[in-house]
């Protein structure tokens, strides 16, 4: 894939991301779900069940199963060292160890069950939420929100960074205002955003955009300013116009830096998403755990945290892999 094709693919992705958010139902099965009579409001909380340690999963079996899985994993990583990534195996083993200790601490009643429910209860709870479609609704709400604001941040941050880096006059006028906005942490904008946009999606878009925008903007500026003068001059010597300098020298050479900005921006946007959802919306993973907190439904709180963490790891892995691909030629 040539560089230009990659750039084009990225642009198409961004605009697809922006348009999908304004069209169609929240997820593929939503219409069918509505027709079947199940109400799709997020207040449709699953009915509370008394939770008892190991009601459906026997904690002893669970601990033994996790231990066996850990041993198998280690054996597999020793035998097929080429195919199994070692850091992943080690991370999974450490997490398995934590899970076992956690389960045993609760099993022997060393801590209050209401404050720290065991992994078995969390798994049962999550499975119940998934079966009712409750978890999917919140995951999709969060992801839609995150991606819309994130793509908006790319679509505004990269062009603005380009303008600021290239035009002195523009940057002198705009810089003070951006600096003013940058030094206030995004959550501090939250009450203000609620005043302006009300409860719902728009304030959370604003907060996530704010979190993701500045890393992207600053990295774009520094990437474009770091373009080597000799590259610009050589293309000018060969008779290139101003557009050629922008399109063929500046943007390609700044691209890896911009991509790093995008990755960092995504991480901060992810933090801001959860913050905004704790306060300002009525659906989403952050809302789910805050709501469960109000009901003292600790298994859902912990389950939601695990889901949020897994999505974080997933996206981080993807972005790191993509970054490696992008900066390969450097």
């Amino acid at each position: 894939m040539s560089f230009r094709a990659k750039l084009l693919a990225l642009a198409v992705l961004i605009f697809a991301g922006l348009t999908i958010n304004f069209s169609g139902p929240a997820f593929a099965g939503q219409e069918a779900f509505e027709k079947s009579g199940g109400p799709v409001d997020t207040w449709n909380r699953p009915i509370e069940k008394e939770f008892v340690v190991g009601k459906d999963i026997d904690p002893v079996h669970f601990v033994i199963g996790v231990a066996i899985a850990m041993v198998l994993l280690l054996v597999a990583s020793n035998t097929f060292a080429k195919f199994v990534p070692v850091p992943l195996v080690r991370a999974l083993t450490s997490v398995g160890l934590i899970v076992i200790v956690w389960e045993m601490v609760v099993y022997y009643k060393l801590v209050n069950q209401v404050l720290l429910p065991p992994p078995t209860t969390v798994i049962i709870k999550l499975q119940g939420h998934w079966a009712k479609g409750y978890l999917q609704i919140h995951i999709l709400a969060s992801l839609k929100r995150l991606f819309f604001a994130f793509f908006l941040a790319i679509a505004t941050g990269v062009p603005l960074g380009f303008l600021i880096a290239n035009f002195r006059k523009f940057s002198d006028y705009v810089d003070p205002l951006f600096n003013l906005m940058r030094v206030v942490p995004p959550p501090a904008w939250l009450p203000f955003a609620i005043l302006w946009f009300g409860i719902g999606n728009p304030p959370s878009y604003f907060i996530i955009w704010l979190g993701a925008f500045f890393p992207i903007l600053l990295n774009t500026i520094s990437g474009i300013k770091d373009t080597q003068q000799i590259h610009i001059e050589s293309i000018q010597t060969l008779g290139g116009s101003r557009m050629d300098v922008y399109a063929r020298v500046m943007i390609p050479s700044a691209f890896p830096t911009i991509f790093t900005g995008i990755r960092i921006g995504f991480g901060i946007g992810w933090i801001c998403l959860v913050t905004a959802e704790l306060v300002a919306v009525d659906a989403g993973l952050g809302w789910m755990i805050e709501d469960a907190r109000n009901l003292l439904d600790t298994p859902t709180v912990l389950g939601g945290m695990v889901v949020i963490m897994m999505f974080g790891i997933f996206f981080d892995t993807i972005f790191r892999a993509a970054e490696k691909e992008v900066v390969k030629w450097q």
Binding site: P185, I271, E290
Partner: protein, 277 residues
């Protein structure tokens, strides 16, 4: 507002009369600020925006003076700073020694690093509801979440710093007859320190962000609580006073950390040692 417009006109005239007196950059930056203030003041005055949506700067200053007089602002700043500093220092005292320990021993590093890369991906605000269940509303959940937020950047940066110490430096000390403690004291600590400082600054940024988030959700005092309260009473000037205070405090502490970083990482001339010991 008339004064601001007058300043704008005067500066423009001055610039028109002589380019040297008012530099181009200074002029543009000043104009950007003035235009911003005149915009904020004028739109409210002429009723373009409702006054609950945007507070005019004069009202914000007035409100800030009022709060300062009553001691309300000072109380909130004190509780915010107490929370932040205790969380930050707990994280620092845990993360730096642990990072040093796990960085020095290869086996420990190989097992701990992947797992902490996993755990790091939980956004700190997501821990907040759980922390509230465990600790209740007040100081404890906020301090806990700030600690978690600051811990991982400092921990990972320390580990990375210790891992990146050049082997040849360690070997030089060992050849000269130094034992394990000498290596730690004279090689590992000095060369890891800049990396630790980077971690401290990143941790500071994330901790400051998380602090405000946790005060909005889980506290009964502090600047975040003040902003949220102002929002609930549709008292926009208070919201802006809180935001400005957070901004000023954050900038001050960041400047302080930058100076500290410069001070810590500067090498002594010729000696090849660091200034700090």
């Amino acid at each position: 507002m008339a004064a601001l417009v007058a300043v704008m006109i005067v500066v423009t005239v001055l610039r028109a009369s002589s380019q040297d007196l008012v530099g181009a950059k200074f002029y543009r930056v000043l104009m950007a600020w003035l235009i911003f203030f005149v915009f904020a003041e004028g739109t409210i005055y002429y009723g373009v925006f409702k006054s609950i949506l945007l507070a005019p700067p004069t009202a914000v200053i007035h409100r800030a003076m009022f709060y300062l007089e009553k001691g309300y602002l000072q109380i909130n700043i004190a509780s915010t700073m107490f929370r932040f500093i205790s969380g930050f220092f707990i994280a620092l005292t845990l993360a730096a020694p642990l990072g040093l320990l796990f960085g020095v021993y290869d086996k420990a590093y190989e097992w701990i690093a992947p797992a902490s890369n996993f755990l790091r991906m939980t956004p700190p605000p997501a821990i907040l509801p759980f922390a509230i269940i465990v600790f209740g509303i007040g100081e404890a959940p906020a301090v806990f979440v700030i600690t978690v937020g600051c811990f991982f950047p400092i921990f990972l940066a320390t580990m990375r710093g210790v891992r990146e110490v050049e082997t040849i430096h360690k070997e030089v000390v060992q050849t000269m007859g130094g034992d394990q403690m000498d290596v730690l004291k004279h090689v590992i600590l000095p060369s890891a320190l800049p990396s630790v400082m980077t971690g401290v600054r990143i941790g500071f940024g994330i901790g400051w962000l998380v602090l405000v988030a946790s005060e909005i959700v889980a506290a009964d005092s502090g600047l975040g609580f003040m902003i949220q309260g102002g929002r609930m009473r549709l008292d926009t000037p208070t919201v802006f006073v809180g935001m400005a205070t957070i901004c000023i405090l954050g900038l001050t502490m960041d400047m302080f950390l930058k100076q500290l970083e410069k001070y810590v990482t500067v090498r002594k001339k010729g000696g090849g040692e660091y200034i700090y010991y």
